[in-house]
Symmetry: none
Subunit: 239 residues, 2 copies
Amino acid sequence: MTEKEKELPPYKQIYEILRQHIHDEVYREGELLPSEHELSTIHKVTRPTVRKALDRLQNEGYIAKQQGKGSIIKGVPKGIGILSLRGTTSAVGQSNLETRIVCPPEARAWSEAFGFPLTKTEQEVGCIYFERLRMMNGKPVFFDITMLPNINLPRFTRRNLENKSLFDILRKNFQIEAIGGEQNILAITADEKLQQHFQVTPGHPVVQLNRKLETTRFGFHIYSQVFCNTAEFSLYGTF
Amino acid sequence: MTEKEKELPPYKQIYEILRQHIHDEVYREGELLPSEHELSTIHKVTRPTVRKALDRLQNEGYIAKQQGKGSIIKGVPKGIGILSLRGTTSAVGQSNLETRIVCPPEARAWSEAFGFPLTKTEQEVGCIYFERLRMMNGKPVFFDITMLPNINLPRFTRRNLENKSLFDILRKNFQIEAIGGEQNILAITADEKLQQHFQVTPGHPVVQLNRKLETTRFGFHIYSQVFCNTAEFSLYGTF
DNA sequence: AACAAAGACTTGTAAATACAAGCCAAAGGT
DNA sequence: ACCTTTGGCTTGTATTTACAAGTCTTTGTT
């Protein structure tokens, strides 16, 4: 019995479409989105459904709504930095970010994750483990290790993580979204592995983040360890 | 003619009530909120209205909803760690934190602040400058430099900053509160000054934060540069 | 005792409808 | 030419209804 891949509910589909269009500048910054009424006829849903999609876009900063006028496009939100729940991809802007898979997704056993304790269930199912190297303008900036519980994610290990946000995949294909989490930040000097990846000399300072993310799926956490070479790019964020 | 105070729409009223109750621990962490149906009969509104209020609480982290179960109370969201607007004091907990003034508040000229550009006004009035060293259990952990515009803060330079949060002073004495800001984070190796303060060897990795905070007083920004020795204590935060 | 099914809850999604409130331009009067 | 008003658009709020989907207990069967 194969896992049925769920179809996204209409309001999420509309959200994804509009989000993509803003990203691709089909709708450009400063312009107005089609009115809620128009969108509802276009996508053959009712206004409340359209509004749900728009609420989300507004919440994330893609648009600003103004009563009596319309939905003003603000563009792709930038600089939510390490606070971003969408991961480092959107944190630095996808413009010149390339991703190289250092270690492709594979199932593993685990007993803890970057200092965060695991539940019994998490330990039992094991994890999916992968390592990626992100580069800005060809220069390696992030090296990250991600671990997530190996449950109920059909074909996940075969999905292409190159230049795609893990969070986009989880959201679109599995309806899993990060809703919060905890992290700690520290400074270390690059070990041999990091020296190789970042192509730096011994003693080079690196920012290390250990994160545990809560998601919309109860009990499903995403653990990641991110190393940043902040020599040329620093981690920027607003709050 | 006095300004007519608009009444909050029902869904916002419910939001405020529930928020207050969570804050006052009428509803306690881990417990379940009354069901949407119950809340709707209690407050004499329909379920969609209640849901709007709950959506907001969920968005802000007060509750987590789970289909089929209910709305789990998560408590008052604990800021965003080192991104907390309450400053480093609450970031690590005040338990064993001592403060030593390395350089007492004094008026200075400035033309920029840790990479953040200044407005003309800010440049003209100059700044108040001070340096502090924070210690956990006697060991130096934070070294921070703070700069703020030298306007309209009577007797500020004479105030005692030892073991007191700058933010408390600003809030209580001048009704100024931080409402947001931006920062960047990077890893460096300790220079001579930091080596002395932290009592570490050359090459020791240190986290550096440059922050600009917006406040409730328009045009009044707080600039600070924080160095953290994360050898023993890492920067922890939830979001 | 162990397992399976049913039922009663919960939240999630969607439609159809109604009116309020804000913005703006066009029409009309001065 | 200027100002005011009107009407038509926009988003904001709320109700009512309906069903889907997830959780958990209770019941019934094996």
